[in-house]
């Protein structure tokens, strides 16, 4: 809530601000919580004036409630379901990525998170013709791989170039730059609210753990706050701007050291509404196999525990050939 300053609302003069400061009322929240009769007596201000002031400030700073029916209507018109381009992933996500929600893909190293993100970006940019923002925080994004995925979908070079132009890539290797960038995006999109073209429909953050993990634990006390700031920014982006947010997360060992769970702890587990765990197929042989299992561990719509198998070598193509991909030139 804002600091009380002269001119914040009509009727709030510098004199009143100074008198209130003398009573240790510095912010709007303090004024809302104060006992106005006492304040009126001690400051020798009129009680009516203080009540009127409080009403005006609250109206300026508070949020308005919405009734359920209006909310449902709004959601029906504004929510879109974006297909990821991977049939089995769409099955797990109940038809695709929902705008207004944060979806998390967690997995160990080499399990295919970046590949899934690239496939989603390629599909949304080419198949659905929408803009994508790809935030890369661990250097795993290569445009040549995106081109390979697009070439598997269409041979037309103009269409490939068009799709590549719709994908914006930003590199943010620490938390403050990432927060800056998400803020910039919010500002830019709020100003373009009337223009329907040019709005970003999918925001992919690969990965969130890379920027947050160095801050958590030990003597540092701000790590958790910064992580929740990031969570808030992502949720505001998803909700206010009608975008689907995809984040990737790493795995960490359980407390008893036997099983794996998504990193960033309990607090982060409340942030995404859907969580998918990627794992190497057991018994499939060495790491050179490209088969992965996807398990749905959290979802607001589907029962958890659903599993599907994908081949990250031939993501998003019609034929699921078992051969490994060709050498990258």
């Amino acid at each position: 809530m804002g600091v009380l300053r002269a001119g914040l609302c009509p009727g709030l003069t510098e004199e009143i601000v100074q008198l209130l400061k003398g009573q240790r009322i510095k912010t709007v929240a303090d004024l809302a919580a104060a006992n106005l009769e006492e304040v009126a007596q001690k400051c020798s201000l009129s009680y009516k004036a203080l009540v009127a002031l409080r009403r005006v400030l609250l109206a300026q700073f508070s949020a308005f409630p919405l009734n359920g029916a209006d909310l449902y209507e709004e959601l029906k018109t504004s929510t879109a379901i974006l297909s990821t381009g991977i049939g089995s992933l769409d099955k797990l996500l109940d038809a695709g990525l929902y705008t207004g929600e944060v979806t998390e893909i967690a997995g160990g190293p080499g399990s295919g998170k970046t590949q899934v993100c690239l496939c989603v970006a390629a599909n949304v940019a080419h198949g659905l013709q929408q803009n994508v923002l790809y935030v890369d925080s661990n250097g795993g994004m290569t445009a040549s791989r995106l081109l390979q995925l697009l070439q598997a979908r269409t041979q037309d070079e103009e269409k490939q170039a068009g799709a590549l132009r719709r994908i914006q890539v930003a590199h943010a290797f620490d938390i403050f730059r990432m927060l800056d960038m998400l803020q910039d995006l919010r500002g830019a999109m709020a100003q373009q609210a009337t223009a329907s073209s040019g709005t970003v429909k999918v925001v992919i953050v690969d990965s969130v753990t890379a920027v947050v993990a160095p801050l958590l634990g030990g003597q540092q006390r701000e790590g958790l706050a910064l992580m929740m700031q990031l969570a808030r920014e992502l949720k505001i982006l998803a909700r206010d701007l009608g975008a689907a947010v995809v984040v990737t997360n790493h795995l960490t060992r359980d407390r008893d050291g036997r099983r794996f769970k998504p990193a960033l702890g309990h607090s982060w587990s409340f942030v995404p509404s859907t969580r998918i765990l990627l794992d190497v197929l057991e018994g499939a042989g060495t790491l050179s196999s490209s088969q992965r299992t996807m398990c749905l561990t959290k979802s607001p719509r589907q029962p958890t525990g659903l599993q599907e198998v994908i081949d990250i070598g031939t993501l998003g193509t019609e034929e699921q050939s078992p051969a490994l991909p060709a050498e990258q030139t």
Partner: protein
Amino acid sequence: MQRELVSFPLSPAVRVKLVAAGFQTAEDILEVKPSELSKEVGISKEEALETLQIVRRECLADKPRCAGTSVTVKKCTALELLEQEHTQGFIITFCSALDNILGGGIPLTKTTEVCGVPGVGKTQLCMQLAVDVQIPECFGGVAGEAVFIDTEGSFMVDRVATLATACIQHLRLIAGAHTDGEHQKALEDFTLENILSHIYYFRCHDYTELLAQVYLLPDFLSDHSKVKLMIIDGIAFPFRHDFDDLSLRTRLLNGLAQQMISLANNHRLAVILTNQMTTKIDKSQALLVPALDLQHCTSRPARRSPQFHFRSRLRDFEMLPSLLLRHRQERL
């Protein structure tokens, strides 16, 4: 734009005082003068000025009219990124099997990890790459300089001199086959003294020195803009002993990895890390896995950076240093 003060890189003491004085968002602070701020909050004038600079610089970037400063995060489309990737070269290793697997050589702007058992040839490969990065562009190289950070003390200058001499001879043979003078002219600068003087060597004895060196690197790299390769020989070594707090170790390694990736990306250089191997006992069988292994503890993004197809051949890569040694022995 309502932006909380928590999301700015301010020092914790200053932030606590700002919140106690009632300032919570950037908007509250934007209109205030430094002297007023220092009086109200109880911080020194320099701190108030610094705080306002940080907050204002970030907020100024919100306005689309402002030209992008170095503080704003640069965005580019995937098409531009593709063009950049096509024009940037690879650092060749002079072993064609290795170059084939890597798709041309060690890629720039990415981090590559080389792991292997002791004596397999990791440091030899790094020394060879420190010479290869200096190959002139007309021979297919990147014509850059190298930074070598040594934690194990296994760098031997005479060996580098031998490698450099062999490289010069190899390039002379190639230049002899070309009739135009371009190759000959490029070779004039490619002498033993020049090669050795463009390898910047740092020796770090423990993890504190290593961390300090890495944090000082951005300034060094802005002075020496021709550096295209950074080698850290033995990233596991300073972290494997004398470390009681394992979570601190993980955090430090994560932070180090992010620094590496950030340097690789901002200064367009290749980062190579070498790692040791350790034995992991898993279900009554002993496996040889890379030390500080990321498969079974919190991940290390440095390992994830190798290109897509390179990851799938990571196991094969462990065999390659032994192939390399045999190849060298056959050549000599």
